[in-house]
Subunit: 421 residues, 2 copies
């Protein structure tokens, strides 16, 4: 299988690069990031020319306007990538942190420290800025990166990777700390998912289809990211204007991202007051409302409102569409979230302390909010700096994956000849 041979060769090089990177000092890694940022600037004409090739091909293949926008680079976006790398470079070194330890009764001194994961594979879609971001996060945290992007962005990514690899070598690190899978076949993706012993962690960054494929096919350890059917529950004791403003923000500030809200659950006692003013506010964008029977009755005549289908409750719209449901109790809200939520971000709007405590306790999600927009689930907003994705699984790390989440741990045990009885 050609895909597997190719990936194995990449994986071996990554493994060897990760060994050197993993024992390098923090200054060397930060210096490499500075060089990577400078290289992006220096190579910007080549990168923009390569991106133009991708854009021409994408237009010929009829790519939609939003996807073309994601694919497109320009000097401002390159400056953003440049700044992003420097921000990551400026963060504290996540390696060698002492997480705990102590002296055991037999005198053994045990210390737990952070170490790199090793080789991280990222499979992403056609957003070239992800390449620079992922590379910077991995190098800073001592991990070698193997990146496989969608073929739509391959020319852009080749140019970006070439610049980053040159910078790594100039900074005294192996250029194979960052490798791009240039074979965009399905076989190469499958091979990457099954490269046990070479890939320590696989992080898919993309839509539901990609995540599903990875879960079904991967044999290497995976951190699932991204799927976000997030809810806001407007409790009986919600402050109405606060609820409207949080829902508006969570739906409309950037509807395409995973921390945007998809379903609003409204307690029956405030539905008659809340829904009309909410509908007016959302009409300004305008947001399409998919309503259960009771909420549709309250919004009858609203031209943005229509009846929800059963599929609506589990749909991550990614657009200016919101599903609406009236619930008769917090139990019903919690049960709905349990059934349809993706364990990403869930919010209650309430002034009732006991209700807030209960919601925080009983809701199983990476981030549970009281009286704030779900849009804050983000590495930057949480104070982690950049992130490589949002984990929606329970193993390893939950929520934004920043530098610290790209580390593993190791126990150091210092003895003076102790043996076990």
């Amino acid at each position: 299988m050609i895909g597997m041979e190719y990936i194995t060769a990449l994986g071996r090089k990554a493994k060897e690069a990760s060994r050197i990177l993993g024992i390098s000092g923090g200054d060397l890694r930060s210096g490499a990031l500075a060089a990577m940022a400078a290289a992006l600037e220096e190579h910007s004409p080549k990168i923009l020319a390569a991106n133009e090739k991708d854009l021409v091909a994408a237009r010929q293949n009829g790519m939609s306007a939003p996807l073309l926008d994601r694919l497109a680079l320009n000097p401002a976006r390159l400056r953003g990538m440049h700044k992003g790398i420097l921000d990551i470079a400026a963060e504290a070194d996540p390696l060698g942190l002492i997480l705990g330890g102590g002296v055991r009764p037999n005198g053994l001194r045990i210390e737990k420290i952070t170490v790199p994961l090793g080789v991280i594979a990222v499979i992403c879609e056609a957003r070239p800025n992800v390449t620079a971001d992922a590379a910077a996060l991995c190098v800073k945290s001592g991990n070698a990166l193997i990146l496989r992007s969608g073929k739509e962005a391959i020319e852009s990514n080749k140019a970006i990777a070439a610049a980053l690899r040159k910078a790594l070598a100039s900074a005294g690190l192996p250029e194979d700390c960052v490798q791009l899978v240039e074979d965009c076949s399905r076989e190469s993706a499958t091979a990457l998912m099954c490269a046990n012993g070479l890939v320590d962690v696989l992080i898919p960054r993309g839509g539901a289809g990609l995540i599903r494929a990875v879960v079904e096919q991967a044999r290497v350890p995976v951190i699932e990211t991204g799927a976000g059917v997030c809810h806001i529950y407007a409790d009986a004791a919600a402050e109405l204007e606060m609820a409207v403003s949080i829902i508006e923000n969570a739906k409309t500030s950037r509807p395409s991202v995973c921390n945007a809200v998809e379903t609003v659950l409204v307690h029956k006692d405030i539905a008659a007051q809340l829904l009309p003013s909410l509908a007016v506010r959302l009409a300004q964008h305008p947001v399409q409302l998919r309503c259960d029977e009771a909420s549709l009755r309250l919004l009858q005549g609203d031209r943005n409102a229509s009846a929800a289908t059963p599929e609506d409750w589990s749909t991550e719209y990614g657009t200016l569409t919101l599903s609406l449901k009236i619930v008769s109790s917090m139990e019903e809200a919690l049960a709905h979230i349990r059934r349809y939520g993706t364990r990403h971000s869930e919010c209650i709007v309430t002034q009732d302390c006991t209700a807030a405590q209960r919601f925080l306790r009983e809701t199983d999600a990476a981030a549970v909010y009281v009286n704030a927009s779900t849009r804050f689930t983000d590495g930057g907003e949480f104070g982690f700096g950049a992130e490589i994705g949002i984990s929606t699984q329970k193993l390893h790390a939950r929520g934004p994956l920043g530098l610290r989440q790209l580390t593993s741990e190791k126990y150091l045990i210092l003895g003076e000849g102790q043996i076990r009885s």
Copy 2:
């Protein structure tokens, strides 16, 4: 597929039980463990009778003496299981610990706390004491357990599980917090490995064959455990008597476990002094030595020494067998460990500080030792209380998996109406 339907039913019950268990107080969970311990005592005649059935069948099927010993229960072993549960009950609650957090510039208060993983599936071989241990660790950490053991122990495990489930119900928790897979077919194991959405984590406890099957087939998140090809490197600056005593302990105190040493690497400068006295000490047990050419020359005439084959370097003997190799430098030792080690436990014996530091830094393993037996890699020895296994992967947790490692985390975010700009 019958296996899948059966497992799905079990998984749904586990999910619901885990929801209730996950929001239960620590006192309730500790109380349930006390009841589980008492139930083992109360049901001991039934459990021993069931175990006798398993033993009769196993003898008829020609089970080997060491495996029969692992399968056998007796009053002393039941008392050990009883005490094990009470020890776990007495540990601190691992849930609701505040791991960190703070107030963001916009006033959002973010807190990271520990929460249960949810539903943990354990696939193990025929050791009935694992059932009680795993159940106690899971319930204490708020997780529902689905246990699938080898069919050789099925009668014993049914009796143990029945006692534990009765105790759970009497303590006010769902009995489905602990479920045994009574269908021991290969289909049920495969179904459990693929129960996405129902099983949050799968932990295989067993030999290399089981681990391999899980890595190849599982679609749910896995924590790999167990494989241990551990090394001791006797450096040029090793104290000889300390090296002999550590090697003897690491090989002979319990050869069947994963933290026992399998290969000793000896620096050429001390080989002529160390090997003869090491061989004399190991001959007392006696340990069979599989030697590289150079060490075989030094041990010529030793009746326990023979030539190693290439397979020896990657073999986890699990018996009183040790492979021996003379290396000309620490580089060679590190490279050998990199190539053949399973990232479990690795040790250097040396009085040279710089050598020790380098070994600690450059060796990639869950536990890296200076001057102590590898046999200390164990939850109890590390001060974690009991363990459910030793993780040899880098994701989630490395080394002994105690209560704390059976938790996930969740972010609680308290706002006053904050929206994202």
